[in-house]
């Protein structure tokens, strides 16, 4: 494999609250190569969105990144001064948000919003920026892009708006796109259309993509590799087929059993019992232990470290469901 576009090493992000320090992201490490899609899966509050914001350096007080490296093409973004970070943000790394109605400013026309983003990063005339914006809209499958540029966000459908948002992320040809549940607000048919187009565009341009979602089925069709997050940790990571076919962490197994279509007809769904723990006072041991069917005394007392099960398939668990060659 070539050098990764993005390499995150031991990332830790904390929020100081009145009730105590919340460690939202802890010891998170992963790589994304050019053209590769990494799916980050987890429940609400598992730290997946904060991971995305941490990469972009958009953690607001009272939060701050306390440890780790974020290497983009070998440069540690955490050591860059804010002015250089500004230049990278939106240009080399773009972000797509969950709700397209909220991501586009309701009182500004599409062209205003696209052109100002281009002009913030490229030294081009407004006319040229408009051309670039129209090209980008055409690329994501919006018919008559030149006329559409003059629309306000409310004049477009949800799917159309999400295409606009994706076009805005793609138009400066970034090295990396971080997509935070971008299709969650859309209906299933539009979702699959957009997914397949995103897939095609990324493969063409060899853009790396981090796709943050709670939906394993989306990840199954889109991602090359998956990282499952729980309570701020990556509990299991591996190639998409390995991880979905032979999940080794009980939590991953639990996620898969809660998908309706993965369970044979007529059988009951198996939910994961219990709730995600409060991140303020995580237990000394494995964060998943209170909900885990496999947990024993060791899991309560000691936090499992990351170990490799097979090549590229790693997890944090004392009792993996699958015994790999390396263990």
């Amino acid at each position: 494999m070539t050098d990764p576009v993005l390499s995150v090493r031991g990332l830790r992000t904390e929020f100081a609250t009145r009730a105590g320090t919340v460690v939202a992201v802890d010891s998170v490490s992963f790589d994304v190569a050019a053209g590769e899609v990494l799916g980050v899966v987890g429940e609400s509050g598992s730290g997946k969105t904060i991971t995305g914001f941490s990469i972009l350096g958009l953690i607001d007080r009272p939060g701050r990144i306390t440890a780790g490296e974020v290497l983009l093409n070998g440069t540690d973004l955490r050591k860059l001064p804010e002015s250089q970070m500004q230049r990278l943000r939106g240009d080399r790394i773009a972000m797509i948000f969950q709700d397209p109605m909220m991501t586009l400013n309701p009182v500004l026309r599409i062209d205003t919003q696209m052109v100002e983003t281009i002009c913030a990063h490229r030294d081009v005339s407004t006319a040229r920026a408009r051309e670039m914006a129209a090209e980008a809209l055409g690329l994501v499958g919006i018919p008559s892009p030149v006329e559409r540029l003059r629309n306000y966000p409310h004049e477009m459908s949800g799917g159309m708006r999400q295409r606009v948002v994706i076009a805005m992320a793609l138009m400066l040809e970034p090295d990396l796109i971080i997509a935070d549940e971008p299709t969650t607000a859309l209906d299933v048919t539009i979702q699959s259309q957009i997914l397949s187009e995103v897939q095609r565009l990324l493969a063409q341009r060899r853009t790396a993509l981090i796709w943050i979602t709670h939906d394993l089925t989306v990840v199954a069709g889109l991602a090359h590799r998956v990282a499952v997050m729980y309570a701020g940790h990556i509990v299991e990571t591996g190639a998409v087929d390995d991880l979905l076919d032979t999940p080794a962490h009980p939590y991953t197994q639990g996620l898969i059993s809660s998908i309706p279509s993965a369970v044979p007809r007529g059988e009951r769904l198996v939910p994961i019992s219990g709730m995600t723990p409060s991140l303020i006072n995580l237990p000394a041991g494995c964060a998943f232990a209170p909900r885990c069917p496999q947990a024993d005394a060791r899991c309560q007392a000691e936090r499992p470290w990351q170990k490799e099960l097979t090549r590229g398939h790693a997890l944090r668990c004392f009792h993996p469901l699958v015994q790999g060659a390396a263990s």
Partner: protein
């Protein structure tokens, strides 16, 4: 809602505004009032402050009376022989000028400080908002009276006093609205796209906080006219050489009980109509722009 290609926010606003006949009438009334004030010099039958045009022989004529030189005083004259109708049109000009300039400046100051407080937070926000709290805990008229007592009379001083009592309303509203907007995803998206801060603040947040500001501005213009009239009535407002509607009312006050009601009465009616028109327009604008009242 049907959506057409040319459906700009402004057009939608105008279309919504035209649905209320009362608001349309009030809007037209307000337009006439503003035009009267702007073109006072061309419209008024007499220049009431040109001593060559007025004569003491025409003093205290009742409405409709013919003057010494054949000039008809439709709304009567005051004790110096000024045509009341002309004096009112000129007075309206002063009243509107003072209130529009004062509210306009207060909006600018309030927008600037409110946005700054919401965006920066911390000690800047605390200082601005506590100042607003202190300011708003005193009655506006009291603050204005104290200021004018210290500054002295004059149109410019009345404007300064009005700005000082009104900026706090705008700062508080803008901060509250901006705090809501800043939390929205489009601001985060703009930051993720690394737009310059001023661009996010003035290009993205500002247009979204304008609706409540517009509503309060219309109400505050009516308030400013009323406060200015009160101040002038109390004798600390505009100087006698530039009488506003409030000062005209005060001038006639001494003669009310001697039967010469028109010197106070007609300026009072003009003030009332002006305030009612502005308030009706403001109410309807609020109804249109209030998201909770939209279907």
């Amino acid at each position: 809602m049907t959506v057409t290609r040319a459906d700009t926010p402004l057009r939608r606003f105008v279309a919504d505004y035209l649905t209320s006949p009362l608001a349309v009438v009030a809007g037209l009334g307000l337009a006439v009032i503003v035009l009267l004030a702007v073109f006072a010099g061309q419209i008024a039958p007499q220049n009431p402050y040109d001593l060559g045009q007025i004569t003491i022989f025409d003093g205290s004529l009742p409405p409709g009376e013919l003057g010494f030189e054949g000039f008809r005083f439709w709304l009567g004259s005051d004790e110096q022989g000024r045509d009341m109708l002309s004096a009112m049109i000129y007075g309206l000009r002063i009243s509107l000028f003072v209130s529009f300039v004062a509210v306009g400046s207060a909006v600018l100051i309030g927008l600037g400080l409110g946005l700054l407080a919401a965006w920066r937070g911390g000690s800047i926000e605390a200082i601005v908002m506590r100042t607003v709290d202190i300011q708003l805990s005193f009655p506006a008229l009291l603050v204005a009276l104290l200021l004018l007592a210290a500054l002295g009379k004059g149109v410019d001083k009345v404007i300064i006093a009005l700005i000082l009592v009104q900026w706090a309303y705008f700062a508080r509203t803008v901060r509250a609205a901006a705090l809501v907007e800043i939390k929205k995803d489009y601001v985060m998206a703009a930051r993720a796209a690394a737009l310059p801060q001023w661009r996010i603040l003035f290009g993205h947040v500002l247009p979204n906080v304008m609706p409540p500001v517009l509503v309060i501005a219309t109400v505050q213009i009516a308030n400013a006219i009323a406060i200015e009239a009160s101040l002038s009535f109390l004798g600390v407002g505009v100087p006698i050489t530039e009488p506003s509607l409030g000062l005209l009312i005060a001038n006639g006050f001494d003669y009310l009980l001697s039967g010469r009601y028109w010197i106070s009465f007609y300026p009072g009616v003009a003030l009332l109509i002006t305030l009612v028109c502005i308030n009706l327009v403001g109410d309807h604008v609020r109804d249109i722009l209030n998201p909770r009242m939209q279907s």
